[in-house]
């Protein structure tokens, strides 16, 4: 693919979205987890993914981040197909993620967790590291500072040398986001970041995600069950149900989409009816 040199400095061609899913499918044996899902995420967007449990949202994250191979279709990053690349390669392209059921390194401190995220920036020639010369020490200090700054952003800097295992649930979520940010992503995949948080913490998280987008020029793809939060936070939303994309558009548009009301909100209403 050739790119007009005049366009190159802006980073990728202006025509292609940052992330593009093209008829993405995933089957586990006979179970169809994702069925021909397509949508595109534009640079700078906060893009929401909602849908009932088992709709395939986390599977979609696993496909994008390279943990699960797709059974069909393609994922494109800045216009280039990235299907089949390993998770570490995809992270290096600029995609980082968090997990619904948190995966911190509990044997490491908060600072070390973030430093693992900064791994690629810490590359130092072996000789330098062994001799511990001034340049190496200065870079080490700069890294420690970077880790401290990232922790401070989430109000975790006071506990930098605590073990990650001792954190409260909400702080564990925040640390996982800080660690993902440390890898320097252009796209952040957040899998239910507000789960287990109280309403005040949820509001705070919302404001934080918005601020991170500004500060790091981030694009965010977010899964969250709390629909009012998503309506407020997201520029656009995609709705999944049984592995299929049933709606796509602005929060206002999605809210009034008959398919969404029927399959998602209607499904809940009838479930509530059954309980009665």
């Amino acid at each position: 693919m050739t790119v007009d040199p005049r366009l190159a400095p802006t980073g990728g061609s202006a025509a292609s979205p940052l992330l593009e899913l093209d008829a993405l499918s995933c089957r586990f044996g006979g179970l169809v987890a994702l069925d021909q899902v397509s949508f595109a995420v534009q640079q700078g967007e906060i893009f929401g993914l909602i849908g009932p449990n088992g709709a395939g949202k986390t599977t979609l994250f696993n496909l994008i981040s390279g943990l699960t191979p797709a059974s069909g279709g393609q994922v494109r990053w800045r216009g280039e197909p990235i299907g089949g690349l390993g998770p570490e390669r995809i992270n290096r392209l600029g995609i980082a993620r968090t997990f619904q059921n948190l995966r911190l390194f509990d044997s490491l401190t908060l600072r070390e967790n973030v430093l693992v995220g900064l791994h690629r920036e810490t590359r130092a020639p072996l000789v330098e590291a062994l001799s511990g010369n001034a340049g190496f020490r200065a870079r080490q200090a700069a890294l420690e500072r970077r880790a401290g700054e990232l922790l401070a952003l989430f109000g975790l800097d006071a506990r930098a040398d605590d073990s990650a295992a001792n954190l409260s649930y909400g702080d564990r979520r925040r640390l996982e986001i800080a660690r993902a940010l440390a890898t320097g992503p252009a796209l952040l995949l957040l899998d239910e970041p507000a789960a287990g948080m109280n309403p005040a913490e949820k509001d705070e998280l919302c404001a934080l995600i918005d601020r991170l987008r500004e500060q790091f020029q981030l694009t965010v793809l977010i899964i969250e069950h709390h629909v009012p939060l998503m309506m407020r936070l997201c520029d656009r939303l995609a709705v999944l149900n049984f592995g299929r994309r049933i709606a796509l558009g602005s929060p206002e548009h999605v809210r009034h989409d008959p398919a969404v009301i029927e399959a998602y909100l209607g499904g809940q209403a009838s479930a509530a009816g059954e309980r009665r």
Partner: protein, 311 residues
């Protein structure tokens, strides 16, 4: 009396240090891959023979190459370090041939046991083919410059044991500092705890695994060279008993625990040394009795972490 006790304790600490090196070799691979590399004992032998060769030792190779040796031998320190490095590289070959194919096919962890045991047997038999089954003694000049005995607190103790203990301690300290302070050490710990998450953070888990094999082989090679120079090379199977003892130490200290491997090694070495000379046949019995006792009281080993349910 004091002199004898001091010497006994030092002997125990020195062989305990070597056990710790082997146990750390197992620990490095175990913590990343969750399996035991049974080829480690063979790598221990290889380290001994390589140190001997690099120092200009003569071999006969079953009479095939009588009296052959390197024209110019190295002195002990560079020979030992180079032998450790070369053993580490052979360990990488073992990874490539006995581990990587299974990893690619996502094979049962139990199968690594068979392939690594096989790789170890091939290595030992190669040694036997190339070097012969006979024992070799390092030349008396191997440690030239080192006095026979040192005067410590009024007691004369054999200096070669001091050397052994010092080298083991240095290796353990460097390894621990590297794990705690360096970028790769941190990445290795991250891969050991959760390889998938480490990969999602951009860490090449395959490279970290190879690094673990390299270091693990180098530690075993170092142990082999030290035992070779302090005792002798009794034959290509010399490493097997150290490999087994290292395995016992690994379990004693707690699978996957670095401090556990060190403490377990020292405990095992000291316990063996305290068996009186005329009952030396009971050494292994005592060593494994301790292992049984510890496992009865603490099933996860001395410093092992309690098994945590993984989500």
């Amino acid at each position: 009396m004091i002199e004898a006790l001091l010497q006994t304790l030092l002997n125990g600490a020195a062989s305990g240090g070597v056990y710790a090196l082997v146990a750390l070799g197992y620990t490095l691979v175990f913590s990343v891959l969750g399996v035991i590399n049974f080829a480690l004992g063979a790598l221990f032998s290889l380290g001994g023979y390589l140190t001997y060769l690099l120092m200009g030792g003569r071999i006969s190779a079953n009479g095939g190459l009588p009296g052959w040796g390197l024209p110019q031998g190295l002195s002990f320190t560079p020979a030992l370090l180079l032998a450790a490095l070369l053993t580490g590289l052979v360990s990488l070959v073992v990874e490539r041939l006995a581990f990587a194919p299974l990893r690619r096919r996502r094979a049962e962890p139990l199968l690594y046991l068979i392939t690594s045991l096989g790789a170890g047997l091939v290595l030992v038999n190669l040694l036997q083919m190339l070097m012969g089954a006979e024992g070799y003694a390092f030349p008396a000049t191997a440690l030239a410059g080192l006095p026979d005995a040192l005067q410590v607190a009024g007691a004369r103790i054999r200096s070669v044991q001091v050397l052994l203990l010092a080298v083991c301690a240095a290796a353990v300290i460097v390894l621990t500092l590297w794990l705690e302070r360096s970028r790769s050490g941190r990445a290795l710990k991250a891969v050991a705890e959760d390889a998938t998450t480490a990969r999602l953070l951009g860490i090449d888990s395959g490279a970290m695994l190879r690094l673990a094999f390299l270091l693990s082989g180098a530690l075993a090679g170092l142990g082999g060279g030290l035992i070779g120079v302090s005792i002798s090379l009794p034959g290509p199977y010399m490493g097997i008993s150290y490999g087994l003892k290292g395995l016992a130490v690994l379990v004693l200290g707690g699978l996957g625990s670095v401090p556990g491997a060190i403490a377990g090694g020292l405990l095992m070495g000291l316990a063996e040394a305290l068996v009186p000379g005329d009952a030396s046949g009971w050494r292994d019995a005592l060593a494994f009795a301790i292992l049984f006792l510890v496992l009865l009281l603490r099933p996860s080993g001395l410093l092992g972490r309690r098994q945590v349910e993984k989500v």
